[in-house]
Every structure is written in C-alpha cells, then in structure tokens.
Subunit: 99 residues, 6 copies
C-alpha cells in the first residue's frame, strides 16, 4: 500500500516516509531500543496498526517476553486504562508470534 502512496508523487509525503524509516536506524541508541520507543509511543497514542508493526519489529530485534511486558507496563501506567483494549490485541499478537 505504501507503494500507492509513494506513487502519488507528493515529495513531502515520500520524504516523510524516508524520515520515518531513518528514525529507527542505529545511532547513539540501537535499533532495539528505538523500536521499543516506537512501540510505547504507539501504545499511548492507541494506534493498533502501529502497535502491530512495532511489536513485529521489536520481536525481530530480539525483545524478550519479559521486556515486552515491561514496555507494556510503562505504556499502561502512562496512558491509563484506555490503553487496555490495545494491550489485549498486542498480547494476542505476541501469542501468535511465540505461541
């Protein structure tokens, strides 16, 4: 789907996508930490598609089950009970990924 968006030819939009990719590349912080930052941000902003994306990326970067729970705990306490339905879907995804 991103191809359709980029094919639209709007330069601001395509540069934003490049920047979005760039933000998670290793720098002073490694990609694993940056992906956890992306995950907790998605959680408190309550965006299911973003949570799904970052849970998968975090798993690829080696985030363990207990580390996921720690990220979720910070997101839940900062964002409140309104986060719970999104947390449920994140756990369902973790189960699919790890069984």
């Amino acid at each position: 789907m991103n191809e359709t968006i980029l094919a639209g030819g709007n330069l601001t939009i395509s540069r934003f996508f490049a920047l979005d990719h760039r933000a998670y590349e290793p720098g002073a912080l490694g990609t694993k930490t940056k992906e956890m930052l992306g995950l907790v941000s998605s959680l408190v902003l309550r965006c299911d598609d973003c949570i799904t994306y970052h849970v998968i990326r975090c798993a690829e970067e080696g985030v363990t089950d207990e580390e996921f729970h720690d990220v979720f705990a910070v997101g839940l306490v900062v964002g409140g009970s309104i986060v719970i339905p999104h947390l449920r879907r994140a756990y369902e995804l973790l189960e699919e990924l790890y069984g």
Copy 2:
C-alpha cells in the same frame, strides 16, 4: 504537592502513585531504558511537566546528549510537528542541566 494529593486519603489515587513509581524500577529492562520510554511517551502525548520530569530522571540515569536526541527524533517523527513546541522546551531544559 503529591503530599496534598496523598493526604486526600483516596486509596485508588495513592495506589496509582505507588504503581507509577513501580513502573520505572529495574526489571527485564533497566531504569535507564524505562525512563527513556517514559520520556518518549510524554513527548508524543505533549505533557510539558512529564517531559521535564523524565528529562531530569534520564539525565540522572546517564542518558547522553546524543541519546536524548535519538529519543527526541523518534518522538518527533511519531508525534509530528505538533510536538515541536514541547521539544523546544526540552532542549532549553537540557541546556540548563548541561550548559
């Protein structure tokens, strides 16, 4: 001021404060990482007082200048230009702390 709130004697509120403290204690992830999670969450939710608190805590946990910028970059890309005024105040605080 937290004392006034806790003196109010509402058990749900005082337990929430204890939980808020607990979420940043070392677990599978260390306190430094958890404080960066708290900082990026505060940034995308655009809460100046929370940003101030977590910038100070991150500094105490040894987050370097370049690491701060990496956290800010993720927060800015996820949260958009609406985050910029809060980012400005975070930089002002960093300057006060580090000169």
Copy 3:
C-alpha cells in the same frame, strides 16, 4: 483475554487491572455515577471497546435511556463531531440491549 495478560506475570500490569476494578466500586459516589464517568471519559477519548464495556455496565446499574442521552450529550459537546462515529456505535449497542 485478561487472563492471558495476567498470566504474563508482570506485577505492575496485574496491579493496574486491580486498580481499574477498584475505581468503580462504591465510595463517596455510587457505582452508577462512577460508571457514567467512565462512559463519558471513554466517549471523549474515542475508545469503542471502552464505550461498549461502560454502556453495558451502566445498563446493569440501571442507567435509563434518557440518562444515557444526557451522558452522550455532554460527551458530544465536550469532544466535538469527531465523537459522532463512536456515538453511532453506542446507539447501536443500546438498541441491541433494549430493542
């Protein structure tokens, strides 16, 4: 699904769930009023799953049709037209519950 989350064994998360339960138990305000507070909060924060949960709990606590409309009216005026799609789904649920 909450069982899966609680089975994860993260103490901050399980305590948050206990606190979330506690917040709606009768105190200075009764559970009916507290559930209406939870409903209007869910409405202005635009969380469908939370709205569904609190509509059902409000109905169990005896909130009448006219009282529901009053809660919705406050939520709509405070939260604006962005709330309307969630209001629609709340009305659909009310129809299912009451016919």
Copy 4:
C-alpha cells in the same frame, strides 16, 4: 473574553456556545452529575482551563471533597499518569476554594 468571541458574529460559534451552556442544564440527570461528567472529561483530555471551570461549577453544585476525589480517581485510572500534573493543579484549586 467570550464577549469578544461572540461579538465576532460567527453564527456557528455563537450557537456552539449556547449548546455548551445547554448541555449542563438539568434533564434526566441533574446539573451536579453533569458537571462531574464535564470535569472527568476535562481531566482525561487534560485541559487545565476546563478543569478549573468545572471544579468551580462542581463546588457550586455541592460536590463534596470525597466526591471530588472519586471523580479524580476515575479520571486518573482512565487517563493514566499523564493526567497527574493536571490533577496537582486541581488539588491546588480545591485548597484555594476550601482551605
């Protein structure tokens, strides 16, 4: 200041202000309950001016100290720790009002 806004002569805006007033008039629910709904909404949406307004209106409608704490507890659990700075200012206001 509302006078300046209304003097602007935009009919959509002036009708919105009339509607905003109307939402808290007694109906199936009394004004006291409606003002508590407005307060908790302002709290989870983190609007200091709105919190100040509804705290004062709630106090006028006879909301007691313990009832305020119950409203705050629901707002804190639903909205998360990001609500705490606003809660602090609400408590400061309560102290000013009641000593």
Copy 5:
C-alpha cells in the same frame, strides 16, 4: 443511523448535528475549503469514519488528486507517523473513487 440518534429526542444532540451541518456551508470560505479543513482535522485526530466522510465530500466539491495529496501532506507532517495507517485507508478510498 443518524435517524436513530435524532429519534432519541435529546435536544442538545440534535442541535449539535444541525451545527455540524452548518459549519461546512459556504460563508467567507467556500464549502470546498471548509471540507478540506474538516478532512485535515479528521486526519490529525485519526478518525477513519470522519476521514471517509470528508474525502467523499471533498471529491464532490471538486478537490483534485494533487490537492488531496497536499492536504494529506500537511496532516502527515502535523500529526506524525501515527497518521500513516489512516493515510493508507484514505488512499485506498481515493483509488475506489477514482480508479
């Protein structure tokens, strides 16, 4: 569905719906511009149903493909990457409408 809501007979709610209609009628700004304002607001507030509604209304008012992309670019930069999933669905809708 709006009929069910209006049949509920709550005057605040029905007047809000009238006001919501009024806000997009031609005034100092034409309906086309106002619908683009409604679209970008829906985008940064991340409400899919609202985006769908305003994309269709914008198309009816003659907003061109390139103009849509400009609206999306402002919404993406202001709202950040959290807006991307909603942008994807907006592009899917545009493709359905225009092929």
Copy 6:
C-alpha cells in the same frame, strides 16, 4: 531556539524541520489554504504555540477576519468545547494583530 535544536546535529530532526517548512510551500494548493489547514489542525490538537504561529502566518497570507472565524468554527465543531480556551487565546492574538 530552533537554532539550538538544529545545532544538536541530529539529522532526523533537522530533516523534519525542513519538511515542516516544505509542507506549507505553494503546490496544488496555495500557501494561504495550507496555512489555514495548519491552523485548524493546531486548533483541534489544542497546541497554543502552534495556533499562534499559524494565526500569524495566515494573517501574513491575507486571511480576513471572517475567514478566520470560519476556520475557528470548523475547529470548534470538530474538536468540541475542549477547544474553547485555545479559541479564546486565538481571539486575543487576533485583537493584538488587528486592534
């Protein structure tokens, strides 16, 4: 202050600032329309600094008093009464600018 941020030397952040500038340059839509889109977005997201910036830019682009009110009316209806304190400050700024 932007200079301090850019002097920090984080490439993601400096590119974001360039993109933020780019989004309002004339394209399929002119800068005046784009600035009104930025203004209504800032209004519904309730960011005072962003509102101030876009009100000034809109004024520079020739947005008239009546056009401002139309933008505000859309923002108020979409975003709800929670927007009112920010609307007040926008009107104060307009008065300062135009007397």
